[in-house]
Each structure stands twice: as structure tokens, then as C-alpha cells.
Symmetry: D2
Subunit: 342 residues, 4 copies
């Protein structure tokens, strides 16, 4: 942390700030510039993280240098973390494919989706039993009935299950059926829920908030890791911007950024990212080329009649065609990763 | 709802869409343009809200005409709703002032804040016992102990209590001490929590999400109203944008926009809005002039040593000075509201 | 400027960076922390503003401490600048009102607008002769003919003229007719144009860019001031965000922020700010209460038939009613400004 | 265009709107819903594009259905446009590589950059002679001297030249040296400049505005096309958002979106897109996989000492390594494009 004094700060004002810092057991280094003094704090600056230095007379502003998250940080854990989902590895260099409908609508529908998903190479089946809906009048999900269906379909096709858990009240229930717990974008900073899923020890797919910063996202993962649960998978699903040609703005740079700052794997969600089905394939290929550890896409046997997100769901033909293309790029990436920077 | 067909859509494609619409019990009106056909849907369009029409062959796109929220809407409830907080009215034309520290740090501190708040004209005391912190290592709040303190301080100064409830697990506890339940920005779309606070029937201060749209915010209120709870107060606290000179961008237009679209009162939170203490007073005056039903500000006896949000908290002198100015503008607004549009 | 070394930076890497800094004639102060070294630069850091220190081995990142703009900064010019527009003062504590149509459509129209504007208390007449249109097929303005009309109308009502100049080619022409040159939002960073208007010495109303940061805006003013022209008026006209309920998000905090960082006056443009006529009056009142040095609004005798921006233009009745309310708040603000912070 | 009447609109109010529409020579189709009437306009709606229907009594709002741009639209020009740059084709299915320094600093530097660029497979040399700088005190470019150097270097390595033109005053000069005129992000809506470069008939690389919408971008291209110049190349360079981990948010979805809506080619600028050199390679690969028609990257022999944008420039080693990887993905994409959707 750095405290920048104003141009006209007095010696007394400087002393007050320095004394406050030292009272917390930290040390200071002063940079006496031509115009102003800059104070560098030495020690455990988390102790003064919340001190309102900006309110001190003579202080212009403070700048934070270190991040709050530790367990999540690659600085403290240089090697990649491989998340083990009951035998299925995520983050080990292979690309994990997850596919399924936005909502579980019935046993037949989820069975058909599982068939299609598997056919395209997916090893994890997605489907929502508890749906976060902007309006209270929209379909909220089949709940436990839906969980039973998706478990049944996944087992029939030897796949894992990823599904969203929206609150602590249903956490135990969801844990009975899911292999991976999904935390939705609107819950990225539902801190109590993060702690709760952290305590389960189960793999958690943490979606980026609708306008979540990379820093908030990493700190959200820290809530989970702080409970001893290192089975965390980041999911980039697009961020909110002014642009309306796409549902969100798919921030593909999150892939290299997260991979640099953290050791947890990151997968892409191009379906929510762009929100328009015919843009999804190119975003999927881009994600593979950007180095994503995997992908999660929405499919439906009959998108026109899907109960939710029909406009971004892929039908069987489009999905299988896309997966064929994805595999080509996957192969190319193996070769790419072998081209070392000398 | 309107479905816009592509320029080259065929008669058969048009028929498929029309048949689907009619199968839901709706009617259609066709606008046969020079280039394209536009289909207007007549009837309860919520039935087809989630049909993926965009996936139909020949369809260019759909446009939504009506909103999902009803109970919240002024169209269905033309008169202002006055929220009654155990005798204190919000939304009746008077300006309600709420003030207090970001966090409750101890009995002495909250007592002192209550004294200052009251002196400036506040009738509601704010203070956080459960704090939403980006990092798990930051101070999380005094919890029940904090609730006891703020209740004690409020009672000592004949004030009401507003405090944040972060999860259902602590809802009953918070209800024992608070007069107004605050739903924080990060929980604007925590739908389960909204339903839970809705069920209590207690007044709810609903903060706008960090990047919440007006539409999402109104629909979030709908979750609460749908439980039969019409004691809703909107709180504009700034939105996330690219600008870094302020902590958020205080969207003062939310005041007239919400007042046009909904019948629930709206108050301003200039403290979080700008995030820098010396900008708070002018934003407070602006809010009064914009017609806000009230305001909520952060104060602290010693902002430099506040445990959180010190950089945006007002000390006693600044707060009292601001309140004097606020009262002047309040008086002016009474005169302004008398200037009728003939 | 501060350079932050990585945790694992070596002594040699540190030396390379220090040597580079010193080679530019600057000095360094080192903060040797527990984990990392932070280098504070002392001297004229503009010399190394563009050195890619981030590319140096061992460097984590750099932080900029001082701003580039100087002449515009209040640090270097503590007193308010009062812009003199041929006798009319802007920034002297009074509120200047500017009103007129979006586009000049004809002599009768601009004459009628001048009559209405004057009646409401405006002293400056606005109107566009050169219109920036998103589409090349939209009405581009009456050009010189329009300039003649607005000059004639302003003279008839003893008002000043403010109108947009879009390029250097037409600058001399516009200068013949205008008292204040307006630089539109899309041209905030048209650096050549800024230099050109700077050279004229005429008053310049500099609109904030569509997504202009405060810092870019201040630096844009610096381009003008650097030509010796201190007759600069900032115009806050709303910024681009994700929200669609309003045309832009009116950033009212720009008023206190600019007044803190710069000595040039700032006026509000609530018309473009919200883009919906019935929200304009409350935004106007809010601007007065926020301390704006003035305001510029769009009016039209018949908004329904305006050639541009009809949806945000005020008709005579609404405008006069609003101005009555504005004057009440203006009076209140005189009293407010007298309430000094002891 | 569609006009939506309010719930309580009267027959008379409806008639006024209909009469106004018909007075412009258009026809109407009415959708009489349960609650409200919707008016569909039939005919050349550009005539009423600027009528302020929202100001009419009884009108709730209007919705625009068709876009303003025509020549740029794929609807009117279904086949891809191949831009011919003096023999070099852009948009013909091959990937064009453009590389070079941010600024031309001297003959030796640009010569060295050309050598490196060519070695990596680039066929177009970039370099700025006129630099758009946020601050007036920053290096503004070598101007004509710089143009001479880049031409010399490009000729030495049999490459084309792309360089930014910032104003009409220097347009003729830049035309003498450049093969492709670049319009910078800050000038995307400098309409006069767009018309001027349009008139030259020379290839134009049109960068997306800092917060440019897809629609504004397409309309900006329309200004150029409207002058008879169809040699337009879109350049996605990232958009401004709240995220600060990257300099901009690289909107990779612009590639498929533009390719759907327009027939002009689009290339990616990952350098400005992310603004941090070590994220550039993955963004480059992602762009290839997304289907970009080409790429433009910043390189420098010694980024640490670059006069501008050093933090995002690639040194020779990183650039050559990246290009090797790019070629692998390019090859894979040929195979991908052969996988047809049956």
C-alpha cells in the first residue's frame, strides 16, 4: 500500500499519518519527491486495509499494491490445480466439454440432451433444476424432480452432472445429485453461499458476476478456498457492457488473465457469453484457441420450444458440427503448446 | 411482443410461426411491409415469453413490448405507495433521512453515531452488523452483538433501525432488531432472499444491483411484492461504469425514472454513489432537488479510523453542515412542487 | 510514478530499472518491503511517461501518481476561471442558462425558439447548423444558412450564440457567427480540432466524450489551454453505460469532481444526459443543486415535429415551468453557499 | 418502425399519430391488442426517422426495426467484399498479417521492425507518424519524416503500409505514402474525416470507437461507402468497460457479428484489445479461430524503450513464436471451414 500526500501537506500532517501506520505494527519508507511525499507501507498491510487514510488531512489518495486473495493466487501456488470430479480431471491439459439444456424440462428431454451431448464428446451434463429468473412469474425450475431426471440421464450415458445451487436451503439436496455445484453469475458475491459450498468440499464451478471484476472473482474463489475446498473451476460467461448486438460481451481475455493470476482451471461459456446461437460456434473455437481448460454450452433437441434461453441453445446438428470443429482446433492446440518460447 | 421476419422469409416459414403463437391461445396481427412482415402478438404474451422464436427459420428477431412486473408497476397502481415504518412514513412527500456508520464497531461508536445522526435530523439509524466484504479476510461484522448495539442506540435516540440482512439463515435474528431490512447491491437478484424478506412483511430497502438495470430492479421488487409485501423502498447507490474518479457512477436519473415506472418510494445513497466524502454533500443536495423521497448517508465520529468505508464517511461537522444545506433545498422543493404545469 | 517489482525480482533486475530511470535525469527512492521493492521516481516523470517499464524483467507494474494536465489543473490555478463571453460571465457564481433547438430548421423556427428561450431566462441561444449524425442519410444541418439564422435570432433577442463546429474546414465560418464554439462529444479527443479552436481564443464549450473519462476530459481541455486559450467551459452530457431506460447516464458527480480538479466552469446538459423529455426538469434541478455553473437545454416549439432529438426537447410550457422551478432552487443555492463549513 | 401507444390512449390521439405518418407518404398497419394499439409503419421509414413521436400525446414509445446503413449491409450485398490493396487481398479467405511499432521513432527502428514483421509472415507494415495522445505533452509523432521512413522500410521488405491519418489537413500527405489509411478509435465518428477518406477511394481500416456500438460502427462505414469507396476493413481493438485487469475488453464476438451483418472484412487488433503484452498471443490465436480476416499487432525491437505502448508491444522472440502458433491454427481453420453444416 502507498499513501500519496498532497502537494501542500505539512510536516505535522505527515507525522500523523506515519504514526497511525506505525501504531498498527507496520513500518514506512518515505519517497520525498520534488512536489510531494509518498509513503510506502512495509509489513502486513491487511491490518490497515480499511483505515480511511483518504480522510486524513494532507492525504491525496492511497494506492493498493497487493491483492487480498492468497490461496487462489498463483504467487502462492505456482502449479496448476487439477480438479478431480470423481475421476474426471479438469485443468490437466485436456479440454473438458460440458453440454446440456438451460432448464431440465422433463425426463425425456434431458435424456435426449444427454444422448446428444455425449455424442458430441461431452463428459459432463448440464441442466438447471433451480432457475434464476429476472421475473418471479417465469418458470423457476423442476427442482428435486429435475435433479432426479438429470442424474438418471447422466448415469445412463456415463456422464457427470453439473447443476446450479441457488441457496443454502437446497444445498444438501443438490449435493445428493450433482458432481459439480454451479454458482450462478448473480451469486458470485453471495458470500454465505460461497462459504457453504466451500464447506461441502465438492467441485464448484464459479461463474463470473454479471459485472464482476477479475479481482472480485478471484476473491470470491478465496471464500471457497478458505474453507479448505480447492476444487474450483472459473467460468467466463460474458460481462455486461453497453453493446446490445450480443446478450453480454464475452470477455475471452479472462482466460489468459485468470490463468496468469490463479492456479485454478477456467472454462468458457460461449452460450451466455454471446446469447445468440449462431455466434456460439465461433466463440467456442476462439475459447479453445485461447487456451481454455474446457467449455460449457447449451443445447436442446428443439430450441424453438425450449422453456428458457431458446435463442442461444444449439440444436443437435449445429452442436455436433461445432464439436467436430472444436476437436480440430484442440488437436492444433496440442501442437501450439509444443512451440516453446526459447 | 413483436416478431420480425427476415426479408426473404417464405410464406411457409411465416405460417409455422403464426401457428406456434396461436397454439398458445394468442392471436396475431400482421404488418405486411414493403420488405418484411412484422407479427404483433395479441393476448397474454407471458405464455410465449420463453419461446425461442429467434431460432425459427425466417425469423429475424423479436421485440418485447410489455414488462414482466405488474404489482410494482405504476400502470397497475397509479397512486404513490407510502411505506409505514412503525409510524414513520416514507414516500408521503416528506424527506426521510437515514444516517449512521458503515459498520457497527462497538456500543460507544454506534451511540455516538446515533447522537450525531439525530442532531442532523435523521430519523433512521443505519449500521451494518453483517458486512458483505469482497475479501474473506476483511472484517465481516459484529453480527448479533452489533444488532443489539444498534437497537440500543436507536432506542436511546428514538430512531428506527435499518440494517442489512445477507441470508435467510440470519433473517429471523435481524427481524428481531431491525425496523427496515436492507437488501444489499450484491443481493438484488438473490431471489430466494427476496422471497424470504417478502414473506416477513417488514419494510425492505432494496438497493440497486452493482450493474442492475432499472428493469431488473423493478422485477426484483416484484419478487417481494408477490409475497404480499408492499413495504418496498428503492435505494439508488450508484452503478458500475468505466469511470474511476468516483467509486461508482451515481445514477441520479434513477429517481425520476423509478417514480415514473413504479409507485414505491425511492431514496438516494450518495455515500456509496460517489465513494469519496467530499463529493457526498453536493450529491445529497442534487438528490433532494431531483425529488428523492429520502436519503441514506454514512457518517462516523472518526472516519480516519473507521473499520470500513472511511473514505466516504462524513464526520460530524461535515454531516451537520450538509444537513443544514439539505434543509434549505428541502424547503425550496416544497415551493417547486407547488409550481404546477398548467 | 511508482514502479513495483515482482516478489522474485533479482538485484540485477532492480539495478537495470534504476539505471534506466537515472539515465533520464530522475532520482529514485526505494521502498524495500517484506516481499517486494517499490521504486518511487523523483523528478520530471513526464520524461519517462512512455517508457515501457512493464516490459522490464522483474517489473510487476507501474502506477501513475501525477496527472499530465497542468494548465487545466486547480493545483496550478487555485482560483476559479471566469469565462467572459463578450460581456456575459460564466463561472462567476451565477447560473448561465443556454437553450434552443437541437437543429436550426429555419429562420421562423429559430426565432420562435429564441423568443421562448429568452422568456425563460436564457442568455445564450443554442442551435446546430452542422449536425453530427450516426447515419450519413440523416439531416446534416443547414450549415451557413443556419448560422445566419441563429445569429439573426440571437441578435433580435440580445442573446449570445453557442453552436457546434465539427471540423477545421468550417472553423473560420462558424467563428464569424458564434460567441461560443461547441466541441461535440464525438470530438472530445479530436486533438487537431481542439488545437484549432484553442488557437482562435474564442470561448469553447467542451462536451465530455460519449465514454470520456474525467482524466481524458481534463487532458482534452489541456490541448485548448496549451494554445493560450483559457476560455473553456466543460459540459456534462451523460456517459454511455449498460442502462437503456435513459439515452445516456447523466453523471451528475462530474460537477463536483471537475470543480475540485479544475478551475474552469462546468455546465450541465440534462437533455442529452437523459434523452427523455419528462426526466429533463428533475435533472435540471439536480444540476443546480449540485452546483453547476450553468445549464444547456433543448427546446422546440413543436417537439413532435422536430427534425432531430424531438423525444428530449421541451416545449414552451414545460420549459417555462422548469425555469420557474430552476430559479427557486437557484435562490436556495445562494443561501446554501452561505452555510460555511466552520 | 413501430409506434406503441399507451394503455389509455384515446381514439383521437391515435388518429393524430396515424395522420402524421400518412402525411409523409407512409402507410400503417394497426395491431389492436387487449391493452394497447401498436402501429406498424409501412414504406420508407427513413422519412420519419427523426419525427419525435414519443412526444405525441398517447404514445408510449417507438421501436426501430430496420437499420440505417444499406451499402454496408450484407442484406444488400450478400457476397463477401475482397479489399484489394495494390495486389494484396483482404477478405478472400486468407489471413492478412499486419505488424509494426506503435510509433515510428526513426529509420533504423522502423527498418528493424519491418525485418522482424516480415520474418514472422506479415505483409503489411504498421507504424504511427501522427499519434493521437491523450495528453498534449506526449510525443505526437514524427509526421512527414515518419511517413518517409515507413515507406522506405516497407519498400525494402516488399510490404504495404498502413498508418493513421488524423485529420483532413494531412490526408493528401498521408495518401502519398500509405497503402491503407487507418481511422483511429477516437475518430470512428469523425464524420467529415470519414467522408474525406471515402473520397480518396483508398483502402480504409476503420477502428471501432472506444465505446462504439456495432450499429454506430456499421453506420460509420456507411459514410465511407456512401462516397463510392468499398475498400473498407473493420478493426476490432477492444471496447471500454469497467474491467481494469486489461486496458480494454477485447470484444472477440465482433468478428462473427460483423461478418453476419456486413460484407466487409474484419481484422483483430489484440495489442490494443488487451493492452498487456503477455496476453496478446492467446488473443491472437483466439482471433484466428474466431474467423478473423486478419490481424494487426504491435511489435518493437526493444519494448522497454518504446516511445509509446511499450507495455503491449511484442519483442522479436515473442512475436515470431506467436506467429508460428498462429500458422498452426490457420492451418487448422482451413480444415474447420471444410466441415460443413449439412
Amino acid at each position: 500500500m502507498i499513501i500519496i500526500m498532497k502537494n501542500d501537506a505539512t510536516k505535522e500532517q505527515l507525522k500523523v499519518v506515519i504514526d497511525r501506520v506505525k501504531s498498527e505494527g507496520l513500518n514506512v519508507h518515505l519517497s520525498e519527491g520534488n512536489n510531494r511525499t509518498i509513503i510506502g507501507l512495509v509489513g502486513d498491510t491487511s491490518k490497515v486495509r480499511n483505515v480511511g487514510f483518504n480522510s486524513y488531512d494532507g492525504v491525496d489518495r492511497t494506492l493498493s499494491v497487493s491483492s487480498a486473495y492468497k490461496l487462489t493466487s498463483r504467487e502462492f501456488h505456482p502449479d496448476d490445480t487439477v480438479v478431480d470430479v470423481d475421476g474426471l480431471k479438469i485443468g490437466d491439459g485436456s479440454m473438458v466439454m460440458m453440454a446440456g439444456p438451460c432448464s431440465i424440462e422433463g425426463l425425456d428431454q434431458i435424456m435426449e440432451c444427454a444422448r446428444i451431448a455425449k455424442k458430441g464428446g461431452a463428459t459432463v451434463l448440464r441442466g438447471g433444476a433451480f432457475k434464476p429468473r429476472t421475473s418471479p412469474y417465469a418458470f423457476q425450475g423442476l427442482e428435486e424432480e429435475g435433479l432426479k431426471y438429470i442424474r438418471q440421464a447422466a448415469d445412463a450415458y456415463d456422464m457427470k452432472v453439473i447443476t446450479e445451487v441457488m441457496d443454502e436451503a437446497n444445498l444438501d439436496l443438490v449435493c445428493q445429485y450433482a458432481d459439480i455445484l454451479q454458482i450462478g453469475a448473480r451469486n458470485m458475491q453471495n458470500f454465505k453461499l460461497l462459504q457453504a459450498v466451500g464447506k461441502t468440499g465438492k467441485p464448484v464451478a464459479l461463474k463470473r458476476g454479471i459485472s464482476g471484476t477479475i479481482d472480485e472473482w478471484l476473491n470470491a474463489a478465496e471464500y471457497i478456498a478458505n474453507e479448505g475446498n480447492f476444487n474450483i473451476i472459473f467460468v467466463e460467461r460474458g460481462i455486461r457492457t453497453y453493446e446490445t448486438a450480443t446478450r453480454n460481451t464475452f470477455d475471452i481475455s479472462a482466460i489468459p488473465v485468470i490463468q496468469k493470476l490463479s492456479h485454478f482451471p477456467i472454462i468458457a461459456d460461449p452460450s451466455h457469453g454471446v446469447g445468440v446461437w449462431d455466434y456460439v460456434p465461433s466463440m467456442a473455437l476462439a475459447s479453445v484457441a485461447a487456451g481454455a481448460d474446457g467449455m460449457i454450452v447449451e443445447i436442446h433437441p428443439d430450441p424453438a420450444n425450449a422453456w428458457s434461453d431458446g435463442q442461444q441453445s444449439l440444436n443437435e446438428k449445429t452442436y455436433l458440427n461445432m464439436m467436430e470443429q472444436v476437436h480440430v482446433v484442440e488437436e492444433a492446440m496440442k501442437k501450439v503448446n509444443g512451440i516453446k518460447l526459447i
